[in-house]
Every structure is written in structure tokens, then in C-alpha cells.
């Protein structure tokens, strides 16, 4: 009911303003953000000391 009112309202606004709804075309392929690998490598570098420590402290597991 409310949606109908809204649609009707929108139509009225468009009519009075005299404009055609503009369709924005979405790109064919999603935009990929390729930061993943860099972030990961940076984290791994930061964890180097922890990794070494875990190996030494848990010699029965490694």
C-alpha cells in the first residue's frame, strides 16, 4: 500500500518535472579490489617473530 503510494508519488513528480528516468548501466564485470595479497603479505611479515616462537615453544607439534 505504502509502496504503491510512493510509486504514484514518484510518477507524479516525474510527470511534473517532465523528465525521463535515466538508467545507469552496471558494469559487466564486478570491480575487483586486489589489495588482498598485499595485506596478507604484510601481515605475514609482521607475524614472523610469532611464527618462530610458536615453532620453538611447540616442538612436539612441528
Amino acid at each position: 500500500m505504502r509502496a504503491h503510494l510512493l510509486t504514484a508519488g514518484l510518477g507524479a513528480v516525474m510527470l511534473t518535472a517532465g523528465c525521463i528516468p535515466v538508467q545507469i548501466q552496471a558494469p559487466d564485470e564486478p570491480i575487483e579490489i586486489n589489495l588482498n595479497i598485499n595485506i596478507r603479505q604484510e601481515v605475514i611479515v609482521r607475524l614472523e617473530r610469532d611464527a618462530r616462537e610458536l615453532l620453538e615453544q611447540n616442538s612436539d607439534l612441528f
Binding site: 596478507r40 603479505q41 601481515v43 605475514i44 607475524l47 614472523e48 610458536l54 607439534l61
Partner: protein, 132 residues
């Protein structure tokens, strides 16, 4: 009577205290042998895995499962301390393992899932996410 009981209790306590390391050592030998035979190897995800065609006894499968569960626990607790994901912590350890803990003749699984073998002439190829 009470003294005898105390002595027996002491012996039992001593036996209990001594037996786990002995059993663990035997288990270590089973796992070490599987690694040396190429049935078992380190993976780029920080866990142990079985190579294709591996002969796996129930005992070995159980032990490796236990090791991996305990590794995950270790990764998880350190990851939460450092505010990183468990996978990142595990990957960081994998980098360290690949750089220092894979002996000549042992097999390992790279980040693409491919099993390789370290040979005398060919060094371990470390995952691309590791520090150069």
C-alpha cells in the same frame, strides 16, 4: 600395611608420570617415519597432510589428526592476541616451516595444492605470500 600402600601408590604415581612421554615418543616415531617415507608432509596452510597414495594406518591418522587439532589451537590463540585471522597465523607458521623444517627427501604441499619433494638439488619452494 600403610607403608606398603604408600609405596605402591608412589610407584603407581611414578609409572603414570613416566608413561606419557614414552608413549608420545613412540607416536613421534610413527609420525616421523611417515614423513620420511613421503606419506605425510607439511602443507602451505600450516597443517600436516597425507600425500596421494599414502599408506595410512588408523594409528597414524589419529596421531596426525591430534597434531593438527593442537596446531589449530595454538594458531587460534596467537591469532586472537595479534588481531589476525587463524589462516594468517597458520600461513605465517607455514612460511617458517617451509624455510627451515623440511628435510631433503620429505614431501610437502605447495599453495596450489601440488605435492612436491625436496631433493638435494632442489630447494623447497616457499609460498608466494611469504616474505622474500
Amino acid at each position: 600395611m600403610t607403608r606398603e600402600f604408600a609405596l605402591t601408590a608412589a610407584w603407581m604415581a611414578a609409572a603414570l608420570a613416566l608413561s606419557p612421554p614414552a608413549a608420545a615418543q613412540q607416536g613421534d616415531a610413527v609420525v616421523a617415519q611417515a614423513r620420511a617415507s613421503g606419506f605425510l608432509g607439511e602443507q602451505a596452510d600450516g597443517f600436516l597432510g597425507f600425500a596421494p597414495g599414502a599408506q595410512i594406518s588408523a594409528d597414524l591418522r589419529g596421531r596426525v589428526g591430534q597434531i593438527n587439532i593442537r596446531r589449530r589451537a595454538v594458531y587460534t590463540s596467537r591469532a586472537s592476541e595479534r588481531n589476525v585471522t587463524v589462516n594468517e597465523m597458520a600461513a605465517a607458521v607455514a612460511c617458517e616451516i617451509f624455510a627451515t623444517r623440511i628435510a631433503v627427501g620429505e614431501r610437502y604441499r605447495d599453495e596450489a595444492g601440488q605435492w612436491r619433494q625436496r631433493t638435494a638439488s632442489q630447494a623447497v619452494s616457499t609460498p608466494s605470500f611469504c616474505a622474500p
